[in-house]
Structure formats: C-alpha cells, structure tokens
Assembly symmetry: C3
Homo-oligomer: 364 residues x 3
Amino acid sequence: MNPLLKDIRDNPLLWLLGFVPVVFVVARLEPEAQTLLFGLSVLAIVPLAALLSHATESVAAKTGDAVGGLLNATLGNLTELVIALTALHAGQYMLVKASIAGAIVTNTLFMLGASFPLGGLKYHVQEYNRVSARVQAGLLFLATVALLVPSAVSEVDADVAAAFTRKLSVALALLLVVAYGLGLLFSLRTHRELFASAEHDEGDETPWPIGLALATLAGITVLVALVSEVFVESVQKAAEAFGMTPAFVGFIVVALVGGAAEMASAFAGARKNRLDLSVGIALGSASQIALFVAPVLVLVSYFIGPTPMDLQFWPGAVVMILIATLTASLVTNSGRSAWFVGVLLLMVYLIFAMTLYLLPPRVL
Amino acid sequence: MNPLLKDIRDNPLLWLLGFVPVVFVVARLEPEAQTLLFGLSVLAIVPLAALLSHATESVAAKTGDAVGGLLNATLGNLTELVIALTALHAGQYMLVKASIAGAIVTNTLFMLGASFPLGGLKYHVQEYNRVSARVQAGLLFLATVALLVPSAVSEVDADVAAAFTRKLSVALALLLVVAYGLGLLFSLRTHRELFASAEHDEGDETPWPIGLALATLAGITVLVALVSEVFVESVQKAAEAFGMTPAFVGFIVVALVGGAAEMASAFAGARKNRLDLSVGIALGSASQIALFVAPVLVLVSYFIGPTPMDLQFWPGAVVMILIATLTASLVTNSGRSAWFVGVLLLMVYLIFAMTLYLLPPRVL
Amino acid sequence: MNPLLKDIRDNPLLWLLGFVPVVFVVARLEPEAQTLLFGLSVLAIVPLAALLSHATESVAAKTGDAVGGLLNATLGNLTELVIALTALHAGQYMLVKASIAGAIVTNTLFMLGASFPLGGLKYHVQEYNRVSARVQAGLLFLATVALLVPSAVSEVDADVAAAFTRKLSVALALLLVVAYGLGLLFSLRTHRELFASAEHDEGDETPWPIGLALATLAGITVLVALVSEVFVESVQKAAEAFGMTPAFVGFIVVALVGGAAEMASAFAGARKNRLDLSVGIALGSASQIALFVAPVLVLVSYFIGPTPMDLQFWPGAVVMILIATLTASLVTNSGRSAWFVGVLLLMVYLIFAMTLYLLPPRVL
C-alpha cells in the first residue's frame, strides 16, 4: 500500500485534508464568505503542514546526516515561509511582520511552555541537552538584537530616512543568514558530538521512499501556497467578524496555524520523555524563523512585493521577542525541567496574548 | 509567664511597642504635627510588623506544613498589605504603586544585598539552595513582565483608552494570583523535596500557643491599620519637611519600614550561616508582593478606592523592577555567595535611591 | 643590550614607533592635512600603547602582587584615559562619551569575540575560570545600570534640569570608583584564590628593570598625550573625508586604536590555549573603563574641561552597552567556549558597527 495513504489512514490529523478541496470550491462559489473561508483554510493548512514536515524529514533521512540536517533546517518552516510569501505578495507587510514575530514568540513560549507540563505531569523531573538549547538560544538572541536595532534607532529619531532603515535591513538580513549558516556548520559538522542526543532522537516516523517524498514536497508546497492565498485574503475580514485585532490574528492565530505540525511533534516528544526533541524543535524552529525565514522575506521583497520590506517592527513586538528570548535563555540554562517551568512560560505567553487581544486596533 | 510578654522582654526591637499608644495620643492632641507623627508611626509600625510576622509563623507551625506554608506565604507581607490598603482607601494611588515597586526592589536588592556581606564577613564563601532561588526569581520575572506590558503599551500610544489599561490590569492581576497559587502548589506539594533545606531551616523561634497566636494576629492587624492611617496621612507633609521627593518616600522609606521585621530575620539567618533562610525570605517576600499583594490591591480597588487602580507604573519604576529582578536572577544563579556579591546588589540599590532622592518631584 | 631596544627589535608592532616623529613633523609642516594626520596618529598610538602596557606590567611585576595588581588595574587603560582627557580638554564631549561607550562594547564583544575563534580553531573546546569572568561581568552590569539611569530618567522628562543630571553624575561617578576599589579588594586580597588561574597566567613577557619601566611609563605617557592631541584634532575632518559618521569614529575607530595593545595580548593568549588570560583582559579592561576611566573623566571635567561632563549617554549607546554586557554575562556563564560562541559575539558587534556606519550623522 502507498505509504502516503497508509499515513493518512493512521493519522487522524491528516483526515483534515478533506478540507483542502472544500476551500477551493467555496472560494470559487462564495468568494464573499470570508469568515467561512478563513475557518476552512485554517483546517486545510494544518494537515498540509503535517504532510510537508513529514516529506521534508523523509528526504532528509535519505540524503545523509549533513545534507539532511541542512534540508530539515531550511525546509522545516516551509509552511510559515509560504504563508508569509503569499502575504508579502499581497503587500500585507503588517501581517508578514506580525506573523514572523508571532512565530518566534509562539515557538519559544507556547511550544516550549506546553511541552514542559505535558512531559512533567508524567515524569517528575526531566533532563535535556543544554548545550544544544544554549546554541539555539544564542542564535535567537543574536536575531533579537538584529531586530531591535532598526526599531530602537528609528524610535530615537522619527525622521531617520526610510532609506537608512532599508539599507540597514538588507545588511542585517545578510548577516543573519550567514550566522544561521555558521550555526549549521557548528552543529552539523565541527561540534556535532555536543548535539548528539537531540540529533539521534529525530528518526521517529518511518521515512517515505525518496521519489514519493520529493513529489509530495513539491505538490504540497503548491497546495499550501494556494490555500494560503485564501487564508491571507480572508484573515482580516474574519478577524473583524470575530472581534479580534489584526495584531492578535497575525501574532497568535497565524503562528499557531503555521506551527501546528511541529507542535504535534514537540508535544509527542515530551510525553515520551524525549525532551531533547521538544526543546530542539521549539528553539530550533524559532531561530530558523528569525535567522532564515525573516531575512529571506526581506531579500525576496525586492523582487516580489510592491515595495521592499524592512526589518523595523512595531516596538511592542520587539519587546515581546526580547522577553521571549530572555525567558527561553534563563529557563533552558539548567537543562532540567518540571511542570512549573512550563507554566511560567505559558503565563508569559498568555500575558502577550491578552494584551494583543485587548489592544485597540489603531495602536499597531 | 505569657509567651508574648516573654518575647517582648527578650527582644529589644519590641520595646518600640511603647510608641504605639504615643502615636494615637499625639494624633489626637496635635493633628498638625505631621513630621512628628510620621516619625512616631514609623517607630510604632516596626515592632508591630515583627509581632505580626511572629504570630503568622506560630499559626503556620501549628497547622502543618502545607497549610502553614500557605498561611506564611499569604500573610507574610500583611504589614505591607495593610499599609497599602490604607493608602488605597485614601486614594493615594501614587503612594500605593511606589510602595509596591519599592518593596519588590528593596527586598531583592537591599535585603538580599545586605544579607550576603553580613554572612560573608563571617564565612568566606556561603552556599544556598539555588533551585528555590530560581523558582522565586522565575515568579518575579513573570510579575515583572506583567507590570511591564501595560506601561510599555501606553508608552507607545498615549491615547490608548484608560479602559484598555483597566481591563488589562484586572486580567493580569487574576493571572498573577493563579501563577502564585501554582507556585505554592509546586513548592509546597508536588516538588517540595527540591526546596527541602529552605523549609527545614524556618522553625527558629519558639512558636506561641495557637489561641494567643490567632488573637495576636487579629489584634495587631487592627493596630497596624490604625497606625498606617496616621502614617499615610503624615508621610507627604513629612517628606516635604525633610526635603525628600514623594517618589523617594514611597519607594525607599515605606518599603524599609514595611519590611523591617523580615529584614531582621533575613539578616539573622545570614549571620548564622543559614543563607537559605535569607535568600528565601528576600526573594519569597518580593515575589509575594509582586504576585499576591499587588494583584489583590488592584482587585480590591474596585470595592474600597475612590476609583479602580490599574497596574500601569511610572516607567522609571518598571525599569528599576526589571533591573532588580534581572540582577537577582544572575546573582542567585550560582547558589554561592561571598561578600562582594552583596556589595554589587547594594550598589545597584544605592543608584536607585540616589536617583529617586535627587529627582525633581514633578517628574514622577 | 637595553631591554627596551631589544623588545623593539623583536616585536614588529613596535617598528611603528617610527611614525611618532613623523606625526609631529607633519603636524608642524602641514597642519591642514587632517586625513593624513589622522592616519599617522593612529599608526603612532598603536606601538606607544603597546609600550605603555609593557611598562605598566613591568612596574607591577616589581612591586608585588597586591600593589602590582592595583597598578595594572588602574594604568591598564592609560592610553584610553589619555586620549579621552585630550578630547575632554578640547571640549569634545561627544567624542569622549562615544569612545567610553565604544571601548566597553569593543572590549566585551570584539576582543572577547575574536579571542574565542582564534583559540577555537586550534583547540576544539576551551575552558576558563568562570568565577573571575562572573565578577567582571557583575561589575560591568553595575556600571551599565549606572549609565542607564541618567539617560532613562531624562528620556522620561526632557525638561529635567541639567543640574539634576550633573549632581547625579558626580554621585554615580563616586559610587562606581568605590565599587571598583572594593572589586580590587575582593579579587586581589580577600578572595584572591578564586581568581588563581587568571592571575598566574599573566607573567608572559620578561619584565624590564624598574628604573627603565618607570622612565618609559612617564615618557610614553607624554608622547601619547601629544599624539592624542593631533588625533583628536584630525579625527572629525578625517571621518568626513572617509564618509564615516562621528558616531562610528568615536565608537569603533577610537576604541580599536586605544585597545590595540590589549587585543594583541588577548589574542596571543587565546592562541596559546590560555583563555583565562583573554577573558580576563577583555572583561577586566571593559569594567576598568566603565568603573574607573569614565568616572575619573566626569570628576576631572570639573577642573580641565570648558564645562562639567555628565554621565548622560545617547540612548542608542546605552542600549548597545546593555546588550554587550548581557551578552558577555550569558556567554561567560558556562566557563567553556568553542569557535561559534565567538562568532555570535562578533556578529552582535558587527550589527552595532553597521548601524553606526549607516546612521545619518544628525541623529546622534
């Protein structure tokens, strides 16, 4: 039996794939039913993201450790990248930036924060590889500094020419991509023994044959792009209908939808006392978005967006990213966890979510 | 002999109780002698706070570990709570907020900072339970984030409706109380073995019989409330007379007066090489004020104050709380101390005190 | 053979001494050739700084550990002090402040950051004394708080009287010097055994006889002062000619020139797997500038400058110092290093350098 079909049969999450055709039909027949389209596209993106992540891992498993790690590291957040590219193409820079910031914060606070109690309620105290956590937290910290500077400088002087922010953003984007590459070189090649446990735990699901995996990768990416278009178009109207602020939608809803597949893996790892896996996915994913997805979007915006995008974020978002990174650094410093550590992370996330939910829309 | 009288005979600090009736007599005869009344009420509150803390510990000792810990944790800062409630009732929100912020900063920087050299001049290097310190520092960090957000958001947009700040403050207050409760559950029940040494050290003084303890608790609370009224009324005038800014009075003087009893215990612990006790009291007290006293004041303000109180602090106070929390986190991370560590904490405290002392009054 | 001449023969860096007379000749003959004078004075300061640092160490080696440590600790940044005094005398406060901030950031991020890969490319993982690193990071953190407060307060209220900032700056300067002195007492006397490895590694070069060392110290200091005068006068014009902002010149160029000699020692230590030496020089030098050079300049400005100098820095500089200190704290916390840790530090430094380079001049 085709392993793809077998996977679909065994994994109830993938049954949501039925919503994919529904989205396209409804989008054609009822283009004005924005709230419905928003709900359907969310339901369709989640299983597509799960398939995409499985296909990436299968290709990675076939190509050997170094190339595989590289593939995993660059395509691991393909869903987020495709959604953001669609929003970029539509000129919705506010949504793009909110979803980048939101993905960083959601991965460090919510994904990590929920993993700890999920594991901690079963296991009294859990341990994990703190070297790996430290490197990821270090990369995240670097990215936070890079995002902080353009916002801080233009805070100080509102008249700073947009040209300055744009030039600086491109330079920072290049620097972040280089740092990301050096981080991969360090963790996959020169010092891979320090990351041992986290790497070793990864081969959880049976990999698909390479042909199927590549075909799935290509096909699903196209589908995600098509569904994302519906999602991005409907999200603002739907937000209004639900009484949510655009900030809340970009920061919380998009981040949760885009990261659903990875969350499923991280939570499963925590329940199996393989916290290395959970911490690796959560912090790795956050640093990947900060050091790879965000810079790529800045650079790509010169080709596909109506105008170039810069790295200047809403100051509140920068504060949230800064706090999330600092919290993750302090928390993962000890390499041990109990349920309460996760509660602290979730509470910080809740504070941000509540603030964004209550925030009057015009502030952002 | 009555244990209460015996305690009073043995403890010179309690001889200050003689000032309690003096305060009431002077307040009746010379209601305009504000500077005198301020001095007398300070001298009267200090021994009352010491008695209150002893009574709380006695009740806690009789009721078993879990309930006792809970009692200690909720009534440990009763003096600060009563003073703040009196100020709240009088509509002096600036004083309430300054005293909350000041109590957090004074406990983390001054109480902790003075304990280290007091112990360190007798013992070369001292060790303490760093797990316990980490949990308290984590709770403090959470509270700091909660206090930071409303101020940061309203910084960004001065026109944000007060309604937003008020709604957010209530939500944050509830969240902080829940976090505080979960922290107690963690340290008193599910993972109490991690906090062993700190708990075990606590039974220092001979506990009173339960009847006497309860009666003292009730009686002294009423006395504190009555003296606080004189204190709150006289504090502003006295500050002017002494050439102090209101910020300095609320932040430094009120915090030192309210925390005098706990400081006595923390310092005694440090001199006896029981640094677990000192660190526990200092950080525990700070997190109790941030996660219990402050939220309770916000919620109670809907019933007893002239208008509801929010959690939006003067930005300078937020910066100081943030630095104090970060400093405490970094310092207690190692679980070891020598005199110089305390000097660093005291220096940071001194920087804040000097700044507030020199600050022109209208800034706050 | 005279040990001074022998040193000059053996150390190619010292051959640059030939530029010292050239500077004076050109300054007399072509006083308007600012760009040339700038380049020549840079080339002349570097070897002078190296000699100064060797002479200081020789005097220190002869006077015994405690006094020697003190000498090293106070004269170790004599070059930076002399350059800053010259700029102060010329009333160039912006340059003085930028060079203080730049020296702190350059030492913590660039000197430390380049030492790690220089050692890490030869040695897989390197270890160093983390107690010593922690004390230096603690002192740096204290200084950062002291620099943060005046800027933060005057941010909040632009109308705060300059008198307030000036009074506060003097008080902070005194406090920092006291903290610095207590830090020396701690590391050189009461707890010197904790710093063992770092101290022991220091005696690298053969010390000179005391007479020669003292004469060199005096003579070279005068020469540095004279060359600094040319440097300070030409730096602004040269910056314009090179298309650099004054912020970039003060922050990056002056800091690199002033610290060149120490960098040579730190890098040599890292290549010899003596990372204690590198970390000690980098963080020790940064905390010395923050807690000794900066306060001395504030106090001295009352006597030699046209008007007193305060400790209020450009907010961007404060953010950079804060991030640099925090990064150094987090990084040195583990006491172990590999090349990638240094890359992270260098990247943060690069972010700051790029921002300052691109920044429109009028912002600062």
